[in-house]
Symmetry: C2
Subunit: 330 residues, 2 copies
């Protein structure tokens, strides 16, 4: 089985590539070759017996997609995107990369007879916009409040239509906010959700811009990797023409997140969190969905953490070598 | 006020053009000029003091949209489309006309500073696909079961995003099945809904391919014209970023439709309907929504018939000069 990962240099893409390289299989099937692509050449993981190629290229450049598809991968994991903030500022770039490049890829696949690869697409729960019910079920209408959400939703619709026509075998995964993101703090409005855990676990202070009553919906990087690997190998027949799935996650208030941090890392870690109310961030986060049933995805075998302590433990294991910073430990 | 009608040669477009020409106003505002466009040059209605231009052109040809927009209409009514059956057979043409031409138009509007025209778009309840609840509310997720539905939904999303960004002031109208369509019978799966009324009212036989228990959702051509004129002049502020509206209509079983025919045109008319079960048509129609609350649209002042007798009466007045065929009359 040949696999192509687009956006293989990103936080989730890198982990997927590493997991596939380590296992040498997806869903019990042997992987013989893996191609990794991103705007900058992505890192190549330890390979075992696996042939791995890595390319740095812009998917929206003419011919780029065709080049990557030349060896007819059986599975394409598509995580390449212009992210939310940039798509909002650079309207044309967002549509070019997030929509046009997807359509060009689908048309390139359609042009090849007798080839219907599995396509797993990183969509986002940002396809939804307010007003929301407290808990969003699988029949609730997406209503994007950003250009990024609009582009993701349109890409989903294309994937569904091309799948219905038999050109591709697509699954769109609407991802929750991924937490804990490793690395340096960023200025994304959602960044603090990771920051209030990641920094204290490293013995560093962190700002909390919203009230502890703020509720949001999360999955760990490890769960996200699991979503893609599950979707790469699942039986898609039960999807019918409903190819986009709200992914499972964990709904928690900031207060519950902090309580989980306390139980894993103690009072000293929690003491590193400083309330610094930011009305703009509070307003943005207030426009996001708080909880999703994700009933269809759960029925189809997708799983995520059910306790926030497990999200923290996954970070401590995967990023901190099992060690919590001195002074923050319980 | 200048108005541009795309698809002005179609069944609804022609009626809108005639209504505007007759009234000389939309929503109380005087119309000074009207431009009509369709793939073939559309008919020019009686004008009064109104300057009317008519163009036959293909909207998906380069430069066509820019030409039509050159005199900066204040209101654009967009009813031009590759219809459902054709979009299903000619995949590329459907996307080119129903999606790419819309995007080109929105980008052409965006390119002009300080111009934010009202855009009223003929979308369709075909954005929805099964499985359905018996009655579909405004929060129910669209899930297109055809390429036409997918293209209409993507065009809606574009219109919403461009409206959110302030480039256009868009409203997408998700139209019910329009009934009674005048003219000759066609082979559309929905054609019989008009046929079992139109033909008997003209003294002609009509085939009924589905059971009388089949339920569907209708509005008259007259109601559809009203939707567009209302949307052309409405206050769009209450829409927020929810720019697509399920239009009001009348949910009725075939049995109820026939009962209405009997009350308007008598037993002789009803006797002209012959059951000719067609399992394929029954299956296709079984995949369509049966009823919609259309609560938001109703709150915003959109109205449709509430009795099927009124739908029939509108046809008799507008198409038959008030006369029901001899032998079919009550």
């Amino acid at each position: 089985m040949k696999i192509l990962i687009l956006g293989a240099g990103g936080m989730i893409g890198r982990r997927i590539a590493a997991a596939v390289a380590e296992a040498g299989t997806i869903g019990g099937q042997g992987v013989t070759a893996m191609t990794l692509a991103d705007i900058a050449e992505p890192p190549v993981p330890q390979a075992g017996g696996l042939s791995i190629a890595a390319h740095g290229l812009d998917l929206s450049e003419p011919g780029a997609v065709e080049r990557l598809l030349a060896d007819r991968p059986d599975v394409i994991l598509h995580l390449a995107a212009v992210v939310s903030g940039e798509a909002e500022v650079d309207f044309d770039k967002g549509y070019r990369v997030n929509l046009d490049a997807m359509r060009a890829m689908l048309d390139a696949i359609r042009a090849v007879p007798d080839w219907c690869p599995r396509l797993v697409y990183a969509s986002s729960l940002a396809v939804f916009g307010p007003p929301f019910p407290d808990r969003i079920d699988d029949d609730f209408a997406p209503l994007p409040a950003t250009s990024y959400g609009a582009q993701k939703l349109m890409a989903e619709i294309l994937i569904s239509d091309y799948s219905r026509k038999g050109h591709v075998d697509g699954v769109s995964l609407r991802l929750p906010t991924i937490c804990i993101r490793p690395g340096a703090p960023n200025r994304a409005a959602s960044g603090f959700f990771s920051g209030i855990l990641r920094e204290p676990l490293a013995g560093l202070p962190a700002a909390l811009p919203v009230p502890e009553s703020t509720r949001h919906y999360f999955a760990s990087p490890r769960a996200a990797v699991g979503f893609f690997l599950h979707a790469a190998a699942m039986d898609t027949a039960p999807l019918g023409h409903r190819r986009a799935l709200n992914m499972p996650g964990l709904s928690a208030t900031v207060g519950e997140v902090i309580a989980a941090l306390r139980s894993v890392a103690g009072d000293a870690a929690v003491a590193l969190i400083r309330p610094e109310p930011d009305p703009l961030v509070a307003t943005i986060v207030g426009g996001w969905g708080m909880d999703y049933t994700a009933a269809r995805a759960r029925d189809l075998g997708f799983t995520a953490e059910t306790r926030f302590e497990d999200i923290i433990a996954a970070h401590v294991e995967d990023e901190l070598g099992g060690r919590i910073a001195k002074g923050a430990g319980a």
